[in-house]
Symmetry: C2
């Protein structure tokens, strides 16, 4: 993989120019993407800034995020060739930092559950996960050092885990959603994908303009970590359980105090209510697409929106109130723990391309709006990851704990 920090170190030392770094990314795309299908389109003649803390960093932009200089096609035939007037706020921010929004990365249609035409770089017979399929695959295949995805259920953490890359779904609305196609406004969250935890910590601190996020070296020496199996969401595979145990042991070896955490009932209920909130909002957010193009929507999304027509405002209002209470209760949990360690996914990327996998271990945390990090756990075979979660606004804390475990796993 291409490390953002490594590239920036070489650029700052004068051993690499920003343009050379971008040309390398273009060459990697040209060489590798034919077999992977991560890239929808890319800028053949990008403007490369020589200034800014992300100069020379080529970025992949999930194709539900507006770009004025490249089409934004939503993974959907009826947005083929669509050119927004303006860049999304996050794209403007990347440019202001000197980064190059080089390529649009493949998304499932409207960031739903119907697969994108992307394969897992580790084995093309397996899904890369979704909905940020191209984003995760492009980083995993070493095409791009940084890429943007979004998560409404588990669309950042799941593809990152399946493809073996570091990723963060930050606190809700830490990154601006202006110019990002909406699926569910209470849930949709921009996320960052990179080669390692320090890489995404650097990127998030710069993009969010909050230097304190990038303080991996200054983590509490003995963070209190709650090991949470999310029993309400079902069981994980043996492989995922083994990876979680390894990560917990690595955390302990690094000085963390790891204890079991069983979440009380309101969180199980909140987990159950996530799809109701999501689908009631998706029905409104995609109302034009549903009214005008129902017949060309892909099958899973079409059926999901069909079912969503029956949801009532009263059900939605009750679900939102419950989620609001659960968010407050989660603050109490985080008074006892600095971070939660849990599954990123049920297991490794499933075989086949008909499904993008199951977001069951991600949904609750998206609804709670708290920062979630996928930390790859090194090992044989297809990748596995674990999830590190902190309180709302504790993005730096989640990254610091994940970085501590990453370093400890590297030493093991």
């Amino acid at each position: 993989m291409r490390s953002l920090i490594d590239l920036r170190t070489r650029i700052e030392a004068g051993r690499l120019t920003p343009r050379q770094a971008v040309v390398e990314a273009q060459a990697a795309i040209a060489e590798r993407d034919g077999a992977i299908g991560a890239i929808v389109c890319s800028d053949p003649d990008p403007v490369v800034s020589v200034e800014g803390p992300l100069a020379g960093i080529a970025v992949g932009i999930k194709d539900i995020i507006d770009t004025a200089h490249l089409p934004t096609q939503m993974g959907s035939s009826f947005y083929a060739g669509w050119r927004p007037r303006a860049d999304a706020a996050i794209v403007s921010r990347l440019k202001a930092l000197g980064a190059v929004p080089l390529a649009k990365t493949a998304t499932t249609a409207f960031a739903g559950l119907d697969p994108a035409p992307t394969v897992n770089p580790h084995d093309p017979a397996h899904t890369p996960g979704g909905s940020s399929s191209g984003t995760a695959a492009a980083v995993a295949a070493g095409m791009l050092p940084l890429a943007l995805g979004t998560q409404t259920g588990g669309s950042v953490i799941r593809p990152a885990a399946f493809c073996g890359v570091a990723a963060i779904k930050p606190s809700f609305r830490l990154l601006p959603m202006v110019g990002v196609k909406t699926f569910s406004w209470a849930l949709d969250t921009l996320g960052l994908f990179g080669a390692s935890i320090p890489d995404i910590a650097r990127a998030l601190a710069l993009i969010a303009d909050r230097p304190e996020i990038d303080s991996s070296g200054e983590a509490s020496r003995k963070p209190r970590i709650g090991l949470c199996l999310q029993g309400f969401a079902g069981e994980a595979d043996a492989d995922a359980a083994a990876a979680l145990s390894r990560a917990a042991r690595a955390a302990g070896a690094a000085g963390a105090i790891v204890t079991d955490l069983t979440l009380p009932e309101p969180f199980a209920r909140a987990w159950q209510l996530h799809p109701l909130i999501q689908d009631f909002e998706a029905r409104q957010a995609l109302a034009w697409e549903y009214a005008m193009h129902r017949e060309t929507l892909p099958p899973v999304l079409g059926a999901q929106l069909d079912r969503a027509q029956a949801l009532t405002a009263a059900e939605y209002d009750d679900a939102r109130r419950h989620a609001h209470r659960a968010r407050r209760q989660l603050k109490d949990v985080f008074s006892e723990f600095d971070a939660i360690l849990t599954y990123s996914t049920v297991g490794r990327a499933p075989r086949g391309l008909a499904s993008t996998g199951d977001p069951r271990f991600n949904r609750l945390w998206t609804l709670m709006g708290v920062p979630c990090v996928n930390l790859p756990v090194p090992g044989e075979g297809l990748p596995l990851g674990v999830q590190v979660i902190a309180r709302f606004g504790g993005d730096g804390q989640a990254l610091a704990v994940a970085g501590m475990i990453e370093a400890s796993l590297g030493r093991a």
Copy 2:
């Protein structure tokens, strides 16, 4: 003015067809808008549904709200002729109810403070207010029975008061913002303008799919009303003070228990922090416009975004935390009061078209996310209005209390 309920009554009784109702609106626009400048463009050959509870209702759509069938120009030269791909969610909802999104209404550039080319229908030498200038003027001039605006500071309540029309800025996110140009995502709120309180109550209940909102007849017989002068925001004109007193007496005459309410200090601080939250988000939301078209932004908005570049994430985070605490504290206020009665504006629409007026009595309530209704107070000269506010989610309550006062003022 054209009453939505009156039109629907005649349509349901078979005395008017939906098409005739829409043709009447087209004729009113053709006759009156030349002198007012409320309409940016309109559909010459609209599809008129004969089904749905809003069939025959021609609606004005503020021109920062996406429409696939009409340009969406943001009040800005660099969006001239811009055609979005999809309708905003609220436009799809109107169509699903049978309404006709007939015309785009003039907005200040990006819903900022630079005036739109619209005059006050009651006196063309006076501002109609902003930023929903054309929306308020089109309803006031009897062109349209219903129109959409948005409020970030006071852009629904202020123009409604200046133009003498009923309007509601509902609870935050009761109406979907998908496809509405963002100024500040924590504040931007869609609102409805109509001829009377019952008209907007009917419209909001249908659009939000929450029938309980339209229960004007079932208001508490003795609502507890807090009369609030918002001293932290400065003083109102004598005319506005007299209108507020009249409204308070009318409420008392109708059976309400009206007592003085002085808000504690945290609300003054929240009021002060509103512009910081707004401008920090506007800097991100309009980053593309600022980076690419700074020289053609209108002067007030350009200068506002210039200043916003200096705001820090730490200031913003602190302000958001304070606003969050104030919202919780406001729940306690609403345990003692069913509604708050306060100023809509500092006074009548100022003379001249160089300013859209002052939102100082609206800002706090936008930040709190609570429903606000403008109730016109009948009298001589340019219009005056008062503001009725209820707890978050109490949109029906705010409308019921406003309707009670409206009826009592009519009897006086």
